[in-house]
Symmetry: C2
Amino acid sequence: MRWRPDWLRGYDRRVAGQDGLAALIVTLMLIPQGLAYAMLAGLPPQTGLYASILPLLAYAAFGSSRTLAVGPVAVVSLMTAAALAPLYAPGSAEYLGAAMLLALLSALLLFGMALLRLGFLANFLSHPVISGFISASGLLIAVGQLKHILGVPATGQALPELLAALFEGLPATHLPTLLIGAGSLLFLWWVRAHLKSSLTGLGVAPALAGNLAKAGPALAILVAVLLVGALQLEQAGVAVVGTIPQGLPTLALPPLDFTLMQQLLPAAALISLIGFVESVSVAQTLAAKRRQRIAPDRELLGLGAANLAAAVSAGMPVTGGFARSVVNFEAGAQTPMAGALTAVGIALGALLLTPWLHDLPQAVLAAAIIVAVLGLVDLGALRQTWRYSRQDGAAQAVTLAGVLLLGVEVGILLGVGLSLLLFLWRTSRPHMAVVGQLPGSEHFRNILRFSVVQSASVLSLRVDESLYFPNARFLEERVGELIVARPEVRHLVLMCSGVNLIDASALESLEAIAERLHSAGVQLHLSEVKGPVMDQLKRSDFLQRFGGEVFTSQYEALCALDPDSTRRALQQTA
Amino acid sequence: MRWRPDWLRGYDRRVAGQDGLAALIVTLMLIPQGLAYAMLAGLPPQTGLYASILPLLAYAAFGSSRTLAVGPVAVVSLMTAAALAPLYAPGSAEYLGAAMLLALLSALLLFGMALLRLGFLANFLSHPVISGFISASGLLIAVGQLKHILGVPATGQALPELLAALFEGLPATHLPTLLIGAGSLLFLWWVRAHLKSSLTGLGVAPALAGNLAKAGPALAILVAVLLVGALQLEQAGVAVVGTIPQGLPTLALPPLDFTLMQQLLPAAALISLIGFVESVSVAQTLAAKRRQRIAPDRELLGLGAANLAAAVSAGMPVTGGFARSVVNFEAGAQTPMAGALTAVGIALGALLLTPWLHDLPQAVLAAAIIVAVLGLVDLGALRQTWRYSRQDGAAQAVTLAGVLLLGVEVGILLGVGLSLLLFLWRTSRPHMAVVGQLPGSEHFRNILRFSVVQSASVLSLRVDESLYFPNARFLEERVGELIVARPEVRHLVLMCSGVNLIDASALESLEAIAERLHSAGVQLHLSEVKGPVMDQLKRSDFLQRFGGEVFTSQYEALCALDPDSTRRALQQTA
């Protein structure tokens, strides 16, 4: 790892200008997002701003992506709420302390993963599991925000609870709130779907049009604040954000409560993994567009530093955001300096803008969240995955249903568990083919697919998988079956062209196979064993003990064990 | 599955005679084992006998091995004790009920595995984990029995506890007990190590000598019972088995306590898996010697039936025993009828012999257990495994240490967890090689190992592993690195000869790779894609969308993408 970032060399006014413009646009996008995701996480609004200051500086110093924009994101905020709501009352000091502790644990886990090079653990989360989780999260978040649009109280984690609570609250719908919420929803949806093309149609340059469209939520906020103030809607019962302390966060450690840490650990682990996976895939996509590289281990460090910064500055868990990073990239950000400048922008916002945000209706923030997260819901992906692979489709469906019905953590664990189970089930049954010699050639092919010449006394079995513990016993069984079905066989040649590894379990199985074959009057041989596998076999006494030979090729094996058969096959024409 | 066993056809007096002799020998071996393993499990002695009657009949009816001898075995008895001792006082009615419930749960789990074809779950338990577990169990059992040899009270599950308790009890050693115990140990050790060769030296046929040696424990029991009676040793404080109820077990369900079931479930799952693995590997070894087959799913059913029978007849969890099955096989057992006849033998024993066993010293049973289980301890295997593979060696060492220090369940779970982690770590980093054309040939080989011709504009990458979620992102990273390092490359050909599967995660990765390469001005292509993989890819829209071609061979790809390079390579001589 290089500690003096190479982007600092050659940093000049032109690059600074590009970074500065990107920072300005991201700041305009991030202020409403910060407020909204803090509300989604059940935290005071300023928490979202605080989590967008120091964490951005920390990531800029330690991360490896040049354009990733970190901060509070929707799914992580949902997971934060899911972890904390059962423990404390949302908005309370204990709740905020626990959110900071969650960020601290997440930071420690990310550092630990970086130190022990455990970034590969994120691969546990297969694409179908993540896709199912993201869709379900989007739905959960959107449904969860409807209470703010309707202006009714409703709590709950899982979908059935949420829907029941909403349904119960429906008669109490607060009309002014609903008007503001629905209006914001319509406006923001129109901005998202049509503003860019309308502006382009009016002759605005596409890049600028795109950036203006991203400022839609900021515009909605401005209008709503003015409206609430002018019509005195707060007095009419419209829930507003309220007083936000003006100024910067004070630095303080979260409460280091050991029992609480234990309770939060599973959620912190999931938040770290999910945040890391999402962040890395955004960062990689963006880096590739400019032929840059990101280093996953450096990303762990960068995200860890960002969460540590959030933990000590009254923040909440953060990670790289998809939409935000794309905006940063497309607005022309060249270096992590853009992130640092965004932090400055948010800090200025926290210092200067907060008094103006008092009248901001929660319904507008809810509308911004709903429009943002509905883009995450992709139920068509489920059908696609199912069509491609039943197993992957099952994992995705289970994750989706699990997250919706049983909660975030249980859903993800179910999906990962099922993926692993199906994966082990699949690798425990490797493809094996009895092969015979193609007439007129030295090649051996599957007897079920090709018309080949088979020896009566020599059975040739090709294994299309590395041999390791999940499938070792399967090989034993398959060989047992084959030998019982062919009493005339005297030699079995295991063709190992597809075997990249033989672990200790498979070695035991090979020994058992050799011994059992022996007592049945059959000799085991190997052919086409790869170099590294052979090196490892030589470290055991298997090669001395199994009594057979290791042939360079299957053809050589047949030449030695049943020359008549190979001669017959060569003489035939294909 | 065939429900009318084929061995019944052609069953005649000759076969019945062979089965009968084997049954007699196994009965003589099983009576002391039943008593001993019941004591080891903390159960009244008759439990071991009862678990050797109906379960044997049930296995004979439903199992697939012709020679497997089921009943109480050492490691399962240890696991039973480990599961029950924290809950109830050994020997109490609740303890016995819980043991029956454990057998019932084990039966249900085995049936469930048979129904859902989940027998492959046993493959989770790699050879190193099982080997580590068995050695540690042997040590734990042996140390745990020393209290009976010394005649001191000592309880504890893990090794440090056991040793501390023994050390504390040492001053209270009961001399007559120690004399009997040590004498039995010496005698049984001599029988095991030397009796067969001594008898053979005296001209006894080796088979008979072997069978006589197996009856050693029965002989030790006889002598000890006579001695205790003659010298009135019970009155001198030698602990004896005591009154064993005469007769057959009464049929009754275990207490169906739901809370207790939940507590026992993990232990029942491990007992089922370990019992199944041990049983199947013995059965397969024996079946292969006569070119017979065993069906793993039928074994699940057979062992399930045996445990169900144990659960309703005041028994304890059972499985196939290694030593016992070998004796059965070598004594000439031909069909499951031998098992059924053994059950009759044990039933007769329970009816007629029990009064005579009152004076049997517990020290003799302990000695029999120690001599039996020390054969399980194989610490040399640890060194061997470590030499063969560091990863497998680590899994074995962790299991061994875990079982000794933290208990059976924790130790096995640690070992399995580590195995899976190392396995996933290994498969998450598949071997990939940049390949070039061998001069004068159409073959492509690793550029690091061979002197090959590389195209400047076409990068050829061979992947030596199926592509699935644990390694999908690794491929993304590797491709990213390669492309950044080679700015002149315009085509990347992924050579898929070693790819047996592309799951949905890997498909997403391929799409991401194609897209990222595209935005970097590089086109992705595939070559040598196997038929089944191609079939699956066709079920997605990847092939339409990725913009590249699928070439039959790597050579064909280079001919199409950089004909100059292939011509140059062909003109060179090797």
